[in-house]
């Protein structure tokens, strides 16, 4: 019985960690893509300036997502935040 409960706890822990990793990876990618879309749409700079500006910012959304995914109380909560933010940036980008 103990063995069963400990393996069940182990499985739950792995599921929790996997979902955090998934949120960090997919959420980070979505956040970065949508942020760049919004910046490219709204900033009044020439194309080459925008490209090299976004290039310098690229590590930040990924870093934020990874750290946030492991600091949040649950992966679901963080997924809501990250994908919500990504959706907002995406809308901003499409509105321009």
């Amino acid at each position: 019985m103990n063995a069963n409960s400990s393996s069940g706890t182990g499985r739950a822990a792995w599921r929790a960690i996997s979902s955090r990793i998934l949120v960090a990876a997919v959420g980070g990618y979505a956040l970065c893509w949508s942020l760049f879309l919004a910046l490219c749409a709204w900033l009044p700079y020439e194309k080459v300036t925008l490209w090299y500006l976004t290039g310098q910012l690229a590590p930040l959304p990924f870093l934020f997502s990874l750290l946030a995914a492991f600091a949040a109380r649950s992966a679901g909560r963080m997924a809501a935040w990250i994908f919500g933010l990504a959706g907002l940036f995406y809308l901003l980008g499409r509105l321009a």
């Binding site: 700079y45 080459v48 490209w51 500006l53 290039g55 310098q56 750290l67 492991f70 600091a71």
Partner: protein, 483 residues
Amino acid sequence: MNALGKAWLGLHAWGGMLFSWLLVPIFVAGSLAVFEPEIGHWMRPEIDVAPIAPSLAADLAERRLHEVGEAAPLWRVRLPTPREAGVGVSWGAQPRQLTEEVLAADGRPVPLRATHGGHFFTDFHAELMLGKSGRWIVGVIGIVMLAAIVSGIFIHHRILRDFFTFRPRANRRRAWLDAHNLIGVATLPFLLLITYSGVMILADTFMPAATQALYDGKPGGPRADAVKAFSRKASGEPAAMLPLREHLAAAERIFGPGKVTSLTVRLAGDRHALVQAHRTVDDRLGAVADHVTFDAVTGALLGQQLSWNPMTYAYRAQVGLHVAHFGGPVVRWVYFVSGLLGAAMMAAGTLVFLRKRRQRHDTGAVSRVLEGCGCASVAGILLACLAYLGSNRLLPAGLPSRDAWEVAAFFAAWVLALGHALWRGFPAWRGQLLLAGWLALLLPVLDLTTGGGDAWRLALDATAVVCGGLLLAATRFFRKESS
């Protein structure tokens, strides 16, 4: 430890340990790549370091290119620099498929052995020899490294106290943790800088959002906008070109004496032929090469780029901070030592993690795999690098595909080290470090008995001796733990 530190402890420990299996090799290769030209010189003992004046080098290159590249529309000449001896010439129809030679001071081509030279370490560092998929992998690893650094700051938040705490005679786990903290704090600015700029350089591969939005997904678009091109179509009429030394002199009047590193001739032999001269980048932070283009037949100035879009320059300044072409030997040595210290910091962290598991008497298959991969990523990669350098001198110079055999020696040594570590467990650390130390000490002997021995190669030999000595000294920490 504060709340964030507690939340990130698992990410820092597990993420750091698992990803260090590739991060340590990437850091070791990156440290060696700082000296790419010097290692390339060591690996081609046929080249001597006799100084050649730039104008003479241009004459020698032009004479040789007329001999062998008359039919080729594209010529390139690499002028000798204080870091790269000999005159490099290449010719062909396609920029990526040029035939290359190195000329000696008398203008004759040097019969060179086929080798990737120091560029192998750059390639392995940036993309693990896997092309685009390798850049993806290194990019992801870099992001985890950034997260490990930031989380490490919160976990080991007593930065000042950590910096002054090292207890080598304390119990092993405490001593390795002290070493991990001390090196991590001392190299923190370097680690942040090098990891952030590294991910930034690779971001173009895995995050093409801006390229899609601004350039319809054309990867060459941003560069075409940033770098001015002065080109024209061939006229179809042959014409005699002015001597290359005259174009070199004209370029030096713009860039300054000794500042031109390469000359490129396009449409060679045509009335519309062009000569492009590139300026050195080793005296500026931004890795941007000013360039000037002349009419090859009349010598008229067709265009020049001496200034850059400020954002492009800011981006390329971060590239420059990563590749360290600026600042001369002092900066290169700082990068070399800091990179190796970064690898040592990660190795110490891995040892803390593994010892913790051993103390829990966790000796199952998972622990054996963790132990084996940890050892192979640290000691094994050193053996692999030494196998690569050693094979360069031991393989016959005329062996077909010998450059591929050198790379094979690197990976074979790494796989053998992994197998040994999986078999032996913790004692493999000491055995492999001992072997790496002795092989490093023997490298100068190999150099001196196989055609090396000039001042540049002796500098690499001396570095190998110092590193070998340090590795042998480090083994005593593992001897105590073994017993």
